[in-house]
């Protein structure tokens, strides 16, 4: 039973990473591509860490795997934001929305026009 659980978690982790890479390759816009970094950095890392815990139990390597997962989750967020900001600055000098530019500000992804003076 434990072996099957380890195999299932490993399969889930590896498949998530593979599908994310293929999805990333399908996207043309780098802003869209960056969304695909999250699943391997979170879901795959968690699945592999759970598999290591099941295999090894409460050993130092298991806690090192937890540390790696936490590092990947926390740092992926920061690096992705920083890269998107860098791309934006490289395009338009200032990364904040310009007056009259339509940007998705609401959760519904509805485009909101920035009124002059707002």
């Amino acid at each position: 039973m434990k072996t099957i659980a380890i195999e299932a978690f490993l399969a889930a982790g590896v498949l998530t990473a593979l599908l994310s890479v293929l999805g990333m390759a399908r996207m043309r816009d780098p802003y869209q591509q960056m969304h695909y970094i999250s699943p391997p950095a979170s879901l795959s890392a968690i699945c592999i860490t759970v598999a290591i815990f099941l295999q090894q139990g409460m050993k130092p390597e298991s806690f090192k795997a937890v540390l790696i997962t936490l590092l990947l989750i926390a740092m992926n967020t920061i690096v992705t934001h920083e890269a998107a900001r860098g791309f934006r600055i490289a395009e338009v000098e200032d990364w904040s929305p310009k007056k009259g530019e339509e940007v998705p500000l609401k959760a519904s992804d509805e485009l909101v026009r920035q009124e002059p003076g707002s």
């Binding site: 380890i6 590896v14 970094i37 390597e61 890269a83």
Partner: protein, 84 residues
């Protein structure tokens, strides 16, 4: 071959599209591929550590996760300042 080796061997194929993106894309695509490769190789090192039962190698995965974070921040800053 144990299940960890099999998982590592399958995971290596995730690097093929990333290599293709790094070769064919512009600077932005290459940077995104670099970020993704850092994550994939970190996971790969975790799998290889378990596959070969060389537990101290887990420290390399920790070091790689930390270094790819630093490298990513530096590249993103460089991109914003110099690639306009």
């Amino acid at each position: 071959m144990n299940i960890w080796e099999l998982a590592a061997q399958v995971m290596i194929f995730a690097l093929v599209p990333l290599t293709w993106m790094a070769i064919r894309g512009d600077a932005r695509h290459r940077l995104v591929a670099f970020f993704m490769a850092g994550v994939v190789i970190t996971l790969l090192m975790m799998l290889l550590t378990m596959a070969f039962n060389r537990i101290p190698m887990m420290d390399l995965a920790i070091a790689l996760a930390l270094m790819s974070f630093g490298g990513g921040i530096v590249f993103a800053r460089f991109f914003a300042r110099h690639l306009r």
